[in-house]
């Protein structure tokens, strides 16, 4: 019941940006029938849109890639935080969905996810309570998280003993970290010591091992291969020793890694030979919409390794209007830091639709967004192909996560920019 409400919510209402001003809220399943078209001006700009064809292609290609590699996909749900997209990923064949914290994972289970992996440490009592209650609400579902320190384990045990009634030991994965990286055990010795303490704890059950390489990828084959080889070698060594010492408490062991940058290097290394069956779990999340910048560059490097083109297409755009052309070479757009990613680079003009027209064209190559304020983008251009006040510009994004978190809903559009569906987000 709750899952259905989360998958088919009411969208719109006062203050809902991009929503037609006079339109009442509409259930997701009814939005296509509204007959709205983005380029005809039926919706106020700025507006984030997902191209349905590109989205469908990305879901298919990535799932097939995982299948071909013999690993499972548990895409990182923090990218989109959208029940509609979790559902699409699961229908495409994903084994589960990854999350960054308990609030996110609880939303996942509430919206129909049955295997939720929190790729993060959990230690606060209120969050541990939240995991227990969510598992009680969703019998048979799994909700796993990471451990990387004895200090964390001590907090969990203190919570467990204070609570008294935790129904089962919680499932955890041991995180192996990179020196100079984020979280995760830096040494083999610490990892083993922690695994042994988990084995002797009644609060937790060790069911696998995890690492994360994505943020340290360079987009250069040699360095990235060495990074993945070194990290996954450490993962394998810890996993083997845990296996030898019988520290795992599961019939099937999980080995998980994988951001969205170099997952082709990671996937073949997720199934070390252990005494029990191993399920390799890839967590890439950004493939779902891909992008026009950061991941486009990483995938170009991946193409040289795959020996064939990858199958991902940029699916997410933010449309804005030219509100002013106040100086030669400068146009001001009605979208800013509240609407589109700026943490890696400025948005990339991808489409240009003249005022009064409904058919976009490629913008001239000179067009660049030089900066953004909260609500404005500064579009710079050379020469004759000047945008006019009232023109619309489709901005490509880099990267997806920090564009998704700026929208409570997004329109899903076909190739004519007819609104054929919608998604909502929870940030």
């Amino acid at each position: 019941m709750q899952a259905q409400a989360l998958l088919n919510p009411l969208i719109g209402g006062p203050g809902s940006k991009g929503w037609p001003h006079q339109a009442a809220p509409v259930r997701r399943s009814d939005i296509a029938a509204k007959g709205w078209n983005v380029l005809r001006g039926d919706l106020p700009l700025p507006l984030a849109v997902i191209r349905q064809d590109a989205l469908a292609g990305n879901l298919r290609w990535m799932q097939q890639f995982a299948r071909d590699q013999g690993v499972e996909l548990a895409p990182h749900g923090k990218t989109t935080m959208s029940p509609q997209l979790f559902d699409a990923q699961l229908r495409a064949g994903a084994w589960g969905i990854t999350f960054a914290n308990v609030t996110q994972a609880r939303l996942g289970l509430a919206s129909g996810v049955r295997r939720a992996l929190i790729a993060n440490q959990v230690a606060a009592a209120t969050d541990l309570d939240g995991i227990v209650e969510s598992l009680l609400d969703h019998p048979g579902a799994r909700l796993l998280f990471l451990v990387d320190s004895l200090a964390q384990l001590e907090l969990i045990e203190a919570w467990f003993h204070a609570r008294g009634d935790a129904p089962v030991a919680l499932e955890v994965l041991l995180e192996i970290g990179l020196e100079g990286g984020r979280s995760g055990c830096r040494s083999h010795g610490l990892a083993l010591a922690l695994a042994r303490r988990v084995r002797s704890s009644v609060a937790l059950r060790l069911v696998g091992i995890e690492c994360y390489e994505g943020l340290w990828a360079k987009g250069r084959n040699g360095e990235d291969s060495a990074l993945v080889q070194g990290l996954l070698q450490r993962v394998t060594e810890v996993a083997r020793e845990c296996d030898d010492e019988q520290l795992f408490q599961a019939d099937e062991l999980l080995v998980s890694a994988g951001g969205s940058a170099i997952f082709d290097l990671v996937a073949p290394r997720l199934k070390p030979a252990l005494s029990k069956p191993v399920r390799g779990v890839l967590r890439s999340g950004c493939y779902v919409t891909h992008d026009h910048g950061n991941y486009k560059r990483y995938m170009a490097a991946m193409d040289t390794r795959l020996g064939c083109g990858h199958g991902l297409q940029a699916a997410l755009q933010v449309w804005a209007m030219v509100q002013s052309v106040p100086e030669p070479g400068l146009a001001i757009l009605t979208a800013g830091k509240r609407d589109v990613s700026y943490d890696i680079e400025m948005p990339i003009p991808a489409e240009w639709c003249w005022r009064g027209q409904a058919k976009p064209q490629a913008p001239p190559p000179s067009w660049k967004v030089s900066t953004m304020n909260d609500q404005h983008a500064y579009l710079r251009f050379d020469g004759d192909a000047a945008p006019q006040v009232g023109d619309r510009v489709g901005l490509g994004i880099s990267h997806p996560c920090t564009t998704f978190d700026k929208w409570r809903w997004m329109a899903v559009v076909d190739e004519h920019y007819d609104v054929v569906d919608a998604i909502v987000t929870y940030f």
Copy 2:
């Protein structure tokens, strides 16, 4: 009715970050009775909190400042996009609220704002329709916007004639821009030509003049004084010529400027002598919570001009937990780019609360956030005063706008971090 619903909404529900996992949604007016305390761990982290005492002081000080200067306050609502804070600003004496676009202004009118100034160009038919409908829904309310080009005027006139039934001419202000700045007429000649065309248009009525200096402030007295003097001199000259030519169509004229950086320089220049009464309107928005970085520095410069301390205090913090201390000198916090501003600088550790304790202390001066990922902050520290897993850190922010837009609700807390109220946002 609608205003009451927007001011006293249900807060919480699945996926609502910072909301207690098992708590049902609660009406704003009922939240204080829950008895929640942030430092006791009643709410999951990360959580954005507003200190009630600092907020109340900021509302009072800024309104008194405007009063002392003989100008009105129409604080920029885009900072917070929170009906509860608009209401608090109006109750403190604000003349109106400023917005960045039609969606925002419509939310303002729906939540009880009676004078809404869109400090931006509006030109799309759907947005112009949205203004007309909103004015019809709220008889007697005002909703003004800016014009800065003949191209914009032509679009508005085309809309007006196509629509046929617009009830009244829409009220606009002429925007004067800075060379190398954002929108606004760059030349006296263009401004006058546009004002004359507005005078002859049945679609629009010119009721004042506007500029914006805030983004170009340097925090250095000499340069900032010259900037404001030059820009407001141009505004005054255009206003006088429009007045001489009887291009204004109002009994009272509006002259508006003012970001949150150097409003003390702006305020005394907002009342040029014209043939009709002039209402100076200051639009500063960030004063409402102030901050720990960007505006703190600007206000230090303002103090040297005011000759006394300003009365603003940083009211907004984002609390996170230490989830891992994986290397000497590095702690990983459970808050990231989705939770706290990073567009001007990284967040500033402002409070430290040990695990198991509920009384915060000042963190050691060596503590710095060096970077953030989507969901994590990297806290660097020297020496002995190391944070422990389970400790909580209150992050000060810089600047407010890009922290507000990361939260759908925020807790309002007293000095003990008891939750005494809440606000919601619409981004």
